[in-house]
Amino acid sequence: MFYMSLTNWNIFGTSEFIGLDNYRRLLDDPSFRTALRNTTLYALIHIPLTFVVALGLALLLNKKFRGVTFFRTVAFFPYITSIVAIAAVWNMLFSPEMGPINQFLMWLGVENPPGWVVSTDWSLPAVIIVQTWRFMGYYMLLFLAGLQTVPAELYEAARMDGASAWKRFKHVTLPCLRPTTFLVTVLLTIGAFRVFDLVLIMTNGGPGQSTLVLSQYIWQRGFEQNQFGYASAIAVVLFAICMVVTIIQFIWNKRRED
């Protein structure tokens, strides 16, 4: 892959070593910049949103009560459902004129509901909503598993000392949950930067380039325009971003533990 990124390889199998030219081209490529910006924006919203929703769900469902299994199952179901079907149904729900979501918004009194997937401003939020919906059950499960490891005595002790629910959460749950929160953050980050299949199916990067993300740009250049060399250069950048972010998170986690 690294070698390929230094060539101008194309579908005819001819490749020629051209050094760093591909990377120089990347710097001046407005589509690449758009893709990078969209991916970053996506990550900045999707990661905290999914984190908070998943943790919230896990806390609500970390008790024994009637129907808890049902709720857990429901939350997890989107994660195992086929992405093509998901994209199809959400595209219909988001339909600007007669879609149920906009009908609901109008019923609530919103006069100009967003155009979602057909609007350049709202397509990225639409993708983020679907992706959060899809993954929150999975991360909820990781949080639930983490919550099982929090010793019950600690809660008892905190309650005895008169700590409020919020204080118990802040001083007992969160510290004990640190390995899980770290894992979830790392997984979410890697997942966010590699986001692809949903975008490809739901919006295909559009309208315009409003949802173009890095992975998809690799796909476009590589498999639609057969510029394997140039696409590999983008792939190297994506790989580097994932690695750097993960390493930073590992170092940060180590510091906090010490």
Partner: protein, 306 residues
Amino acid sequence: MTQDLAPAPADLLTPAGDPAATAPRPRAEDGPDAKTIVGKTLGYLLLLIASVGLLLPFVWMIISSLKRNVDVFTNPIQWIPDPVVWQNYVTIWERTGMSTWLFNTIFISVVVTFLQVLTGSFAAYGFARMRFPGRNALFMAYIGTLAVPWQSFMIPQFVMLSNWGLANTRWSIILLQAFGAFGVFLMKQYFESVPESLNEAARIDGLSEYGIWWRIMMPLSVPAIAALTLLTFVNTWNDFLGPLLYLRSNNLWTVQVGLRTFIGQFASEHAMIMTGSVISVVPIAVIFFLGQKYFVEGIATTGVKG
């Protein structure tokens, strides 16, 4: 039942913020006071809203799949299809290659799952029980591959498989998915919980390492095998990008790729698209509800110990 309910009315009348009413009571007899009742109701309400949000897309999918195309988008929304068009489920078989797609998907999923469990457990046995130099480093490197985005190496991989003449065959997908670090990780976690003394005893009795793997470890690891089987099957069934890239002829397509193409061609046939979606989801839903426990266990163990 009556015992549980009896104190409730009295507690409801107690002002929630009055510490004198609740504080002196010993913890052990703590009944549902006003605060917890409000909290519980709120919790239930939140969960109810959440589940409506989570399930609504599926409900919409099923309802729309039974409607006439003109009834899909109406204002107000038609929640009960009228008339109910079961015919959609017949039409889709006639108009698309659904049966071919389903066959391909089942074939690929079954073969991949079988190979994954085989290679995964085999490699996991090596990592869990054999001692050889560089074992831990090799294992870490293998697990590290999970963190690398597929998108970043899909091009060289595609070039490699094309050179081998495997592109546009089922074998490309099977080969790509037959080995996975996730399966090795899952199985290794489980194998390590099996006491080592069992292996020792078997070794003394003259069983080979292969024999131990097959006769001792595998039968003891049924839950892990079940989890891996279900997760792999579902993943392969839902895989979209791999088949999209490698399976170009439409007699090789999986349900996902086929459905996607159908949507591309007949974007305005909303009811039919939903019918296809339901067909692609139902097998997974059935498998999920039957083996729910294993899914959850599989993800919980690998997730947390990772």
